[in-house]
């Protein structure tokens, strides 16, 4: 039987960073992971990660895993066993694991458990039908094995995982028919949500899945609106034609091994469920056992790595009396910074139950979206939610973007310094930055859109320009494609000047015509046909097609129709008559006018 000073269970970011830190402090370490490659959740993640630039922000998940692995391979203190499933932690610091169908035993002085988390289940009728998957399973099939489990997807849950999965599915060529979310607001980051909304994926709040439909496998899903008690409201059921349902309603820590190792467990919903009690230095109620990562609280790769490092430093100190005080305090301070934003409120509440208080940090600064000086090629940053990320600030070669000490602050641009290099556009993990340059003389605008789909369009090609909800707004001509090694490319398109601030996405023109007016379901084709028949008056087009005549009163589509008319007739939009606005601006019930306030 072998013996190690330290054993680490779980080779995700927490376990890997823990191993690297232990090895660095000369501790003989064994890392065990059940998969054949290291990386844990990272392996499935093809998107760029958020976070502190010093902690791999804007690097894609699977690439972070590769980088960590390269570092580990250099260190002779670290021994790695993959395809090694720990089946139990026994008294006297004994670990038993299975590998190649054989039983292996190993003992430790100090143990770091970083087993991560598993997906929560959601019960609904027919949830056992083939075609219902956990989000993680779909990611594994798609991103690790290159197998697509379906063509048309419904996603349940709008946390970051659900949102990112939707994005990855679209990248893989699938169609996402919608995301249902039981709560009244989107769970994940706004930038992730916007990324898929502008690709046309609807996010239905206050909705749930009622049942899966199908005989042998999923052929549809019934969704419904829910009331404040999360009960489906009769009459609101709606069927979505999908062949795959992905459930992504959160993760819960895998705490069994910690429990077996004698760590006290407590149920703290804010941290994800049953979690081991531990102190600020990641030590559990069993002084030989430390934890890190999603097992301690469902969070992020960044925090998992920092926790792995803190745990490892403290373990090294216990084992060898190495002086790690300053290093640990630095890491704790960084963690506090990460957790100071509004999105970490749950974590802060959960940690307080252990008596762990987040350290005071510099205040978060908040800024709205800046438009910048018209006519200059510049970056437009739509990132107004306080999330821990500073990659734009870190990569800008001209120091034009400021976030400051607290990385939850939102960015502010100094447009005197911005020179339009677009480095921030390709670094931003939220794809929340695009380029803009207006040409007032020619009534056009150049919009540079970050693009991570394949194939790429060609220069000169006509694309559809879409707004924030993925609605068609005008045609766009590709002027330039800037390719980058990190695979976030920028497509520069020319659009009419009027749309310069609306265009946020592009897509290849589709065979079926896009809806221009969603209220009345009028397509681009119908409008072009009317114009081609010689009707070039906006008012006449409106009356023939009903475009802009719906409940929204044309708020969403009037400019789009004028844009089409302008393109076809060559008359600038500013010269076209745009009709009259009539009350009510928003539809109101008749009953409103029977309950009048007549007070003087």
């Amino acid at each position: 039987m072998r013996h190690y000073e330290a054993v680490v269970i779980g080779g995700g970011p927490a376990g890997m960073m823990g191993s690297i830190t232990l090895g660095g402090k000369d501790v003989k370490t064994l890392l065990l992971d059940e998969n054949d490659v290291l990386g844990g959740q990272l392996v499935k993640q093809t998107h760029k990660f958020f976070g502190d630039h010093a902690h791999y922000a804007s690097v894609r998940g699977f690439e972070i895993a590769q980088k960590l692995q390269e570092e580990m391979a250099k260190d002779p203190n670290i021994k790695v066993e993959t395809s090694a499933t720990v089946i139990g932690v026994y008294p006297n610091n004994l670990i038993v694991y299975a590998k190649d169908g054989k039983e292996f035993k190993v003992t430790y002085k100090k143990l770091l458990i970083a087993t991560g988390a598993m997906e929560k289940q959601l019960p609904f009728i027919n949830s056992d039908l083939p075609g219902v998957y956990g989000a993680g399973a779909v990611q594994t099939l798609m991103n690790e094995y290159g197998v697509m489990p379906g063509k048309r997807f419904l996603i349940v849950g709008s946390g970051n995982i659900g949102l990112i999965l939707a994005y990855q599915l679209i990248q893989a060529g699938a169609e996402v028919r919608g995301i249902v979310e039981a709560l009244g607001k989107i769970g994940g980051y706004e930038v992730h949500a916007k990324k898929i909304k502008r690709l046309g994926v609807p996010i239905l709040l206050n909705h749930t899945i009622v049942k899966a439909i199908g005989d042998e496998s999923v052929s549809g899903a019934v969704i419904a609106k829910i009331d404040e008690h999360f009960k489906p409201i009769p009459g609101t059921e709606e069927e979505k034609v999908v062949d795959t349902i992905c459930v992504s309603v959160g993760l819960t820590p895998l705490s069994e091994l910690a429990e077996q190792a004698g760590c006290k467990i407590e149920y703290i919903p804010q941290l994800g469920g049953y979690v081991p009690i531990r102190n600020e230095r990641m030590q559990t109620s069993n002084p030989d056992v430390f934890i890190a990562g999603d097992l301690s609280s469902i969070e992020e790769a960044t925090t998992a790595m920092i926790e792995g490092k803190i745990a490892a430093l403290e373990m090294a100190h216990n084992l060898k009396s190495t002086d790690v005080e300053n290093e640990i305090n630095d890491e704790i301070q960084t963690l506090s910074l990460f957790r100071s934003g509004p999105k970490s409120e749950k974590i802060r509440i959960g940690l307080e139950k252990f008596g762990i208080n987040v350290k005071p940090v510099p205040e978060i600064e908040r800024h709205g979206v800046q438009i910048g000086p018209q006519g200059k090629l510049r970056a437009i940053i739509d990132c107004t939610e306080e999330i821990p990320c500073n990659s734009c600030e870190a990569v800008c070669p001209f120091g034009a973007i400021h976030i400051g000490e607290n990385l939850n602050s939102t960015p502010v641009v100094d447009y005197d310094k911005c020179n339009g290099c677009a480095t921030c556009v390709i670094a931003c993990p939220g794809l929340a930055i695009h380029m803009l340059k207006e040409d007032v003389e020619n009534s056009t605008a150049l919009v540079g859109i970050p693009y991570e789909l394949l194939p790429l369009p060609e220069k000169g090609q006509k694309m559809w320009a879409l707004d924030e909800d993925g609605n068609y707004i005008c045609d766009a001509i590709v002027k330039k494609i800037a390719k980058y090694p990190n695979k976030t490319n920028i497509i520069y398109v020319e659009v009419p000047l009027e749309f310069s601030q609306k265009v946020l996405s592009v897509e290849f023109p589709k065979r079926e015509s896009p809806f221009v007016c969603r209220c009345e379901e009028v397509t681009l084709d119908e409008i072009e046909r009317v114009i081609d028949s010689g009707i070039t008056d906006f008012e006449e087009i409106k009356r023939l097609t009903r475009v802009t005549m719906g409940p929204c009163g044309g708020k969403n589509c009037k400019l789009v129709v004028l844009g089409i008319l302008s393109r076809k007739t060559g008359v600038p939009i500013s010269k076209l008559s745009h009709g009259t606005s009539r009350p009510p601006v928003k539809p109101v019930e008749f009953s409103l006018f029977t309950k009048r306030d007549d007070s003087k």
Partner: protein, 380 residues
Amino acid sequence: MIPEASVVIIGGGIVGTSVAFNLAKLGVNNISVFEKSYISSGSTGRCGGGIRQQWTSRMNVRLAMRSVKLFRQFKRDVGMDIEYHQGGYLLLAYSDKEMEEFRNNVRMQREEGLDVELLTKEQILKKFPFMNLEEVKGGTWCPTDAHANPQIANIAYAMAIKRMGVDLNTHTSVVGIDIQNGEIVGVQTDKGYVKTNVVVNAAGGFSHEVGLMANVNIPTHSERHQILVTESVNHVLDPMVISFQNNYYVRQTKHGSFIMGQSDKNPAQGNDLGHTVEFLEEMAPKMIHDFPFMKHLHIVRQWSGAYNVSPDAQPIIDEAQNVSRYIFAVGFSGHGFMLAPAVGEAVAEMIVYGHSKTTDISNLGMSRFANKIEKEHNVV
């Protein structure tokens, strides 16, 4: 714009385009139509779309009956589906006196060959169980009355006449009529001059002003009428329903929205196209009362248009006494959409043959105002 026209029509509303359509059908070439704005910008694009034959004056009944025939084959003749729906008209009566009037109207209308009947309150309730008929005594019912989309009808005529070679000029205002020795020689527009000897005044709300251009004093004036549209819901209401007592008309369009209006107590005069909140406040309680399901229905938009009113609320279709070949088809008093197909036909015949052939409209001339006039009563 052509330099010389056989006929110039002033106004591209439903009447002007219908006249042009019928002239072209009779083989007239070089017709010019001038519309100062876009097609359907006038009353036509703002109207309720009702097509009713139940009138108190025989002339209105006749013209409307002829129009219904033409509306039925509109799609074939003019080439576009105008959402024509023959769902009938229900007129409500609230007193014995009103019932008595209705009885007399029905007698006259049946003499004209109209398929119309008196209904008891119970019969109405059976047909339309969702209505609240509390104060209603009874009503009249004509199943061949109808409604259609006036805007599309106007544009349909416009597209048809363009195909037929008519010189249609939108966004072109007629600013003067050139008359020498009592004869028309041309028309001045803001975009140029056209030579012509024949002019049709189909200027809708501006009929009086366009009359003055030829020194003809047409006894018409315009007043504002307001109207609203609701959100779309499932189809429940087939007919147009009118209540003179409660002062409203209402119908449901093909798209499911309800269109409705009333006569304001003191309507704004002229071509004021504003809107008031009083209109909504007056409409809401009576609609909720008579159609309880509308309580939670959403109002989507309100607007207004002009009724071009004549002294007896019947159209004035005539040729001027003092200016030869100056013809006018005006003063429709809130029912010009429904009469337009028949009026267009009659006016075209007047121009080509010197008098109307299909429908006798001789008593719609100006001379009738010299005598005591008989006013049309069935107006909202």
